[in-house]
Symmetry: D2
Subunit: 293 residues, 4 copies
Amino acid sequence: MEFDAALTPPPAQHHWVLTLICVDGPGIVHAISGAVVQAGGNITESQQFASNDTGRFFMRLQIETQAGREVLEAALAPVVAHYGMNWRLDVVGRPLRTLVLASTAAHCVNDMLFRQRAGLLPVHIPLVLSNHSTLRDLAGFYGVPFEAYPVTDAESKAAFEQRILRAVEEHEIELVVLARYMQILSPELCTALEGRAINIHHSFLPGFKGANPYKQAHARGVKLIGATAHFVTSDLDEGPIIEQNVVRVDHSRSASELVAIGQDEESRTLTQAVKWFAEDRVLLDGARTIIFR
Amino acid sequence: MEFDAALTPPPAQHHWVLTLICVDGPGIVHAISGAVVQAGGNITESQQFASNDTGRFFMRLQIETQAGREVLEAALAPVVAHYGMNWRLDVVGRPLRTLVLASTAAHCVNDMLFRQRAGLLPVHIPLVLSNHSTLRDLAGFYGVPFEAYPVTDAESKAAFEQRILRAVEEHEIELVVLARYMQILSPELCTALEGRAINIHHSFLPGFKGANPYKQAHARGVKLIGATAHFVTSDLDEGPIIEQNVVRVDHSRSASELVAIGQDEESRTLTQAVKWFAEDRVLLDGARTIIFR
Amino acid sequence: MEFDAALTPPPAQHHWVLTLICVDGPGIVHAISGAVVQAGGNITESQQFASNDTGRFFMRLQIETQAGREVLEAALAPVVAHYGMNWRLDVVGRPLRTLVLASTAAHCVNDMLFRQRAGLLPVHIPLVLSNHSTLRDLAGFYGVPFEAYPVTDAESKAAFEQRILRAVEEHEIELVVLARYMQILSPELCTALEGRAINIHHSFLPGFKGANPYKQAHARGVKLIGATAHFVTSDLDEGPIIEQNVVRVDHSRSASELVAIGQDEESRTLTQAVKWFAEDRVLLDGARTIIFR
Amino acid sequence: MEFDAALTPPPAQHHWVLTLICVDGPGIVHAISGAVVQAGGNITESQQFASNDTGRFFMRLQIETQAGREVLEAALAPVVAHYGMNWRLDVVGRPLRTLVLASTAAHCVNDMLFRQRAGLLPVHIPLVLSNHSTLRDLAGFYGVPFEAYPVTDAESKAAFEQRILRAVEEHEIELVVLARYMQILSPELCTALEGRAINIHHSFLPGFKGANPYKQAHARGVKLIGATAHFVTSDLDEGPIIEQNVVRVDHSRSASELVAIGQDEESRTLTQAVKWFAEDRVLLDGARTIIFR
């Protein structure tokens, strides 16, 4: 694994990832695999799930074919129309345009930037926005533009959110990552970013929502602490969960030691969630996520 | 490990476990170790903890000595008096007299009875009390008396709780284990059993308190489910936590599959907590537990 | 989960599990899913894998259909013939006829028998064979016939192996489980049971093969100990691995304490492997296993 | 946790860590705690272990005292002399002077440098030596001097080892970390660095020693892959183990995917081992380590 993005080969234009969601029913796999055969494709990875909760069918395929996108889309068109499918076709490994929001904590941002450069995380990060300038040099080392604006009142907060929305538009952002960004997003911004913003919360949700979860965890005397990556919704810490991890602690740890211990779980939980999202492995089934690992 | 309790040797009368709790201050270790030396003892295991939260000092020692209990107690007497210690001296490995409360679920009861007989859990279970007769044969196979009384209304519930209290007295019970006993204890009984009753809750507390935690976990879409062994208090599912474990699940699991998957965590979390308690490794520090593993 | 096998409903005759193995190539999924559609079936679970190592394609499907086995087989016949598939069709949840071999250790046998009765493990165990009589009562409690024959020399060992083979024939055994059976099987028996005998080895293979793995683990000072469930082959402890688990230990544990700690991992690793095998989730790809969890 | 080493306060000169090793016998704890009392000290953390394998006694204490080092040493002097103790007294939190050896892989080096700067790892790294220049910029960003010398033959290898030894002397190095340094050290260098050089091996030892462990792991079909941090000895991959971790993988992972997956375990296993060593929590008991976590 060379530590240099320039050495990472561009993703192959003949390896595709297809995700689709529709009402469950018979014949879907046969119809889709027929379209793949018609486009001269070979299925290299396939996962499916039928949800008893919502009656919906979810599928993720990786398809190798020398035919181009147009041929593949043409073959799929009648099938997706017939089943009324919500679908998405992309090149396997294409870096996802990702905006990172940060405050002062470095660990999650460092983990994302390092992995992007090492070729371990299929994202392209054109910008880091922060309400503090703490991480400017870190972003700079990784060659990522960085902008900091203090958020001190309603006005500066609104301006910051406007900057986020402009950045999303300018850079055609596909994913916004709150990498320990310590501001609550307005309901309007949550709505605007619905389904494409991921937050890391420093507890094992639904335990210890809100502020100071490690202090809460210490007070309650839990024996495991955790981290949760979830979609951002206007209902704080209630968005669909993508990934969770825990680590064992004992009585001897102070609340501030829990903070240090928990950082590793936060970083790896967040980058795992981002990786799955960037690989089109995360689908929404109501308030729950389907993860095609 | 022979599967026969009769082969388990009686615990040695010259290996002692000493636990003590007092206000923290200088010189405690020196004073205690001096008493041990005076009694001709050798410290084979030692753990200590000073709580910043409550200012208390906790210690657990294992001491080998050919001197009897009287000599050891005499040596310790001035020290525990001087520091105003709450202390307890017992023989290492002495089986703890344990009352098991059960309903219909077999897994936790089976695990406790099997481990008792295999010599893996230092408890002596003179009686299983249940509000159902489902587990009568299982208890019978392990040679443990079993009594079942239906609990259907306030009167039968009060009678059952009276039976519990009588059993505690008759058998000089040191620990009551709620092994998936599906009744809420009355506040009076909780008070009577304070600090010597352990429950297993089938979620990772503080998440999903109360009824149907697996159904709640499914609805919330968590990626790990868990189990929590905790002391029983009148505040439901809020007692001090002794042990917790989690296991990974994914979107494909129904709520009833979570029930089956979670059983293993429930059993091993409960038996682990009981083992630590029986070995005098669990001390209370306010709402938190000290576990000297 | 009621603790009574009699309450377990018989598996539905309209829910099928289909596994197939063939040389990889295009169109397989389409062809198979076409056969399923033709038989009026709905795919409820599907997993596939193409092995780069051996060029083979592996698939496991669960299919719901009101059509009977004959209709389903007729629809599949041309497809499996065309692709030269190695295939297997069974009813989802049908208990696998399983022979258990034991010695004196109780934990794995207890775990299997308990889970069978609790409806957690889809096996039917018509017989336990042992070279010691230690576990006779345990088997008896679970209503499972038990036979013990001392194995003390080459002659008694050969006789025991003949008894195994006869039992396999008499009971149409589909799986032989070595539940801490402390005898090495002869090469002839290994060959006769190839692909349908599972052993639990009490180490994290390939570390610590052969005798006394916990003693070896203690001497080497490893920080995690483990257990490995694997297919039996004539090459001792070298058969394809089905499942592995580890548990953390520290310097303070003696070799005999490691034995006690490791038992839980042995039990759960073995029963997990047996469960997957009984559910047709374990396929062989050369020296490696495909596990469709 | 501010991302800036300059903000980390210097360690307090009144909080000490004392480790000691001697032949086991009665009265040691009393004697040591007496010396602590004499120096006006308070024991804030204490762990001990008596090894049945070697008959040695190990202890680690943290002691708070306003008395200086001289007073504390004077109080301890008669005790350590009496028991013939191998002992070490240091300031809690003092950064350990650490030399890092690297090749081209960035993940372990990045993790160490990031944690040093974030105040999460009590080391001072005055120099990174590498046989490749790949990581020059990374070291530069963290303000750590970096030297690269190609190692292509016996002569250049000997020169590189001479540079290591000179650096150890110049910087009074206390720990040498092989952070995926892909050269085998000569027996002479191993001897020179005995007990103060830590390597990370990318397998769960003792499985898969030597080259290409992930390729070996893939071929064997293990279900967990791991990493092992161990002391360097002239017997390759056989030095005393300090820490190990594993992560679950399945059949679908190629050998090169195992490489990527394993990196996280390598980094966290190595930094954990270094942290414990820097905090004087790692003691040697023959071929095994005592870890006072």
